[in-house]
């Protein structure tokens, strides 16, 4: 077949497109950086500023902790209520948007609602709600509800559209009413995925709720922004540390809820070493 002299020039037959794409990307980066006036000098000046900046951040100043706590609690409340409301609304809307269960005149409006809810950043939506219902937590709750409906609705619809219709058929064949068909045929299949993205959204809302305050929609964001504008950088640092801790705790709790509902863990299981499999494969276990 192939003799010593006749080796093909490129035995790997690799396509030229990845290289073309890489070059194009490089050209784009240079172009865009120039457009935005990002130059090495600016970065250097910035790094110099950074030193002074970090000096003023530390040590963090927790003396105004009551203000801090109040803001955090409000953010937490916004996240909880927005998630609850969002889930409650997203379930029927998501269901209505499922093309394998509903006729087009129902799915189109529902899908439109979901797309619009997702397209705008929660902060922008918060600005509009602040205009509509005034400053405060309510605007934040409504804004994040909209964001939740967009996210959960989309994923919920996708999950429903991916279910096996055979199981639904089987339930329908027993003569069950529509609601039972939903309950026993559709929902069991999507439940664990639903828990997954519901906890994700709660987490996401917690993050966003710390931020909508920047435009006046309640929560710790307002406190943060105010401190920033007053150059109270050590207080800013304290607030940031609190926010990060809160979010990390939120993630831990979200993982716990997932394990409880998806893997049917008990309180005892949660405290056992997290499910990392033994590194050494027990080869003789089959």
């Amino acid at each position: 077949m192939n003799t010593v002299a006749a080796l093909p020039a490129d035995p790997f037959q690799r396509s030229v497109w990845p290289r073309v794409a890489a070059v194009a990307l490089l050209v784009y980066v240079i172009y865009a950086a120039a457009q935005m006036e990002i130059s090495w000098e600016r970065v250097q000046t910035g790094l110099y500023n950074a030193q002074r900046f970090f000096g003023r951040l530390f040590p963090p100043n927790f003396s105004r902790w009551e203000l801090l706590a109040k803001g955090l609690v409000e953010s937490l409340e916004i996240a909880v209520l927005a998630s609850t409301l969002g889930i409650l609304l997203a379930l029927p809307i998501g269901l209505a948007a499922a093309r394998n269960l509903m006729p087009p005149w129902v799915t189109w409006p529902a899908r439109l609602i979901i797309v619009m809810a997702r397209s705008f950043h929660p902060v922008i939506v918060a600005i509009l709600f602040v205009k509509a219902v005034g400053f405060g937590a309510l605007a934040g709750i409504l804004a994040l509800t909209v964001a939740s409906v967009g996210f959960i609705g989309k994923l919920f619809t996708e999950a429903i559209e991916e279910i096996s219709l055979k199981q639904v058929e089987a339930v329908r064949a027993t003569g069950a009413p529509f609601a039972s068909v939903l309950w026993f045929g559709v929902l069991p299949q999507v439940f664990s995925r639903f828990i997954g993205f519901a906890t994700y959204q709660l987490d996401s809302n917690l993050r966003n709720s710390t931020m909508v305050g920047i435009v006046g929609a309640g929560g710790i964001g307002g406190t943060l922004f105010a401190a920033f504008q007053r150059f109270d950088y050590d207080f800013v640092c304290a607030i940031l540390i609190s926010i990060i801790s809160l979010i990390m705790i939120g993630e831990v709790l979200a993982t716990a809820v997932r394990r409880i509902f998806i893997e049917h863990a008990t309180v005892a299981d949660l405290f056992r070493a997290g499910g990392a499999a033994s590194r050494e494969r027990h080869l003789e276990d089959d």
Binding site: M36, G46, L81, G134, I214, V267
Partner: protein, 273 residues
């Protein structure tokens, strides 16, 4: 996990229960916590009734002021800012990809079997994710001054956590068989990465990159509200001047760009992945 085997129980005692008592207790605790937090939150959130009653009127007023949308001013005020937003999103995402690769590798236990390093890398990733891009933008505006540089860095640093976490998960989920084979052949660690892991995680990597770029286009649009460049700055000035028709124009432009980005991402997904 469930009840004792049916065969071993006398017939009268065979009750089918979906969950063991411990599991039911745990689920009950979770439900209790959820309900309690909802109730507490409703009670303590301050809702000023006058504002609420006013709301419909305010909304109508808002809509009236937004119409007609300020189309004529698009070229001079909005277009350049919109382009800048896209550049911020794109360069920021690229920055994140470059930085997240090493951190994601360090966080994956099956590649770097040193728990302290894994934990440190995971800490970096979690911190990056926990700080919102707006807050990152505030920080970078403080350091580098207002403008697109702050915005790009904010997007970049925020996305490291997202990309790194998902990438690390893709690495941890790779099949270990081929890796074993390469190690058994005496392959050095870097070649195991290049031949064993990279081909397996490549599709996930690009998928994550596209996904994040999509999200970043949305995020970049608002960074200007704190001075980090892009269309957010135009939005900020329009809001401050109560030029609601221009606000409407900007919102529409953002919406269009977001939809365009989604279309681009869907098309690329179909062709490449």
């Amino acid at each position: 996990m469930g009840v004792a085997t049916a065969a071993s129980m006398p017939v009268a005692e065979r009750i089918w229960r979906r969950f063991t008592p411990e599991q039911r207790f745990t689920r009950f605790v979770v439900y209790l916590v959820i309900v309690a937090s909802i109730v507490l939150s409703i009670r303590s959130v301050e809702v000023i009734p006058e504002f609420l009653a006013d709301a419909p009127e305010q909304v109508v007023d808002l809509l009236k002021r937004m119409w007609p949308i300020d189309w004529p001013h698009y070229p001079d005020t909005v277009h350049a800012a919109l382009m800048e937003t896209i550049h911020i999103a794109s360069l920021g995402t690229l920055l994140a990809l470059v930085l997240a690769l090493p951190v994601g590798i360090l966080a994956a236990h099956n590649l770097v079997p040193f728990v302290p390093i894994n934990l440190l890398a995971k800490l970096i990733l979690v911190s990056s994710r926990s700080v919102n891009s707006l807050v990152w933008a505030l920080l970078f505006v403080g350091i580098f001054g207002p403008g697109a540089l702050a915005g790009t860095l904010a997007i970049g640093f925020r996305s490291i956590g997202f990309v790194g976490k998902l990438f690390g998960e893709a690495l941890e989920e790779s099949q270990i068989g081929p890796i074993e084979a390469l190690k058994a052949a005496g392959s050095p660690w870097r070649s195991v990465l290049a031949y064993g892991y990279w081909p397996q995680v490549k599709p996930s990597f690009w998928s994550i990159a596209l996904f994040r770029w999509d999200i970043n286009v949305r995020e970049s649009a608002v960074l200007g509200l704190v001075g980090a460049g892009g269309i957010g700055m135009a939005l900020d000035s329009a809001l401050n001047l109560f030029q609601w028709d221009r606000v409407a124009l900007i919102l529409f432009a953002i919406f269009a760009v977001v939809i365009l980005a989604e279309i681009v991402v869907t098309q690329v997904r179909k062709r490449v992945i």
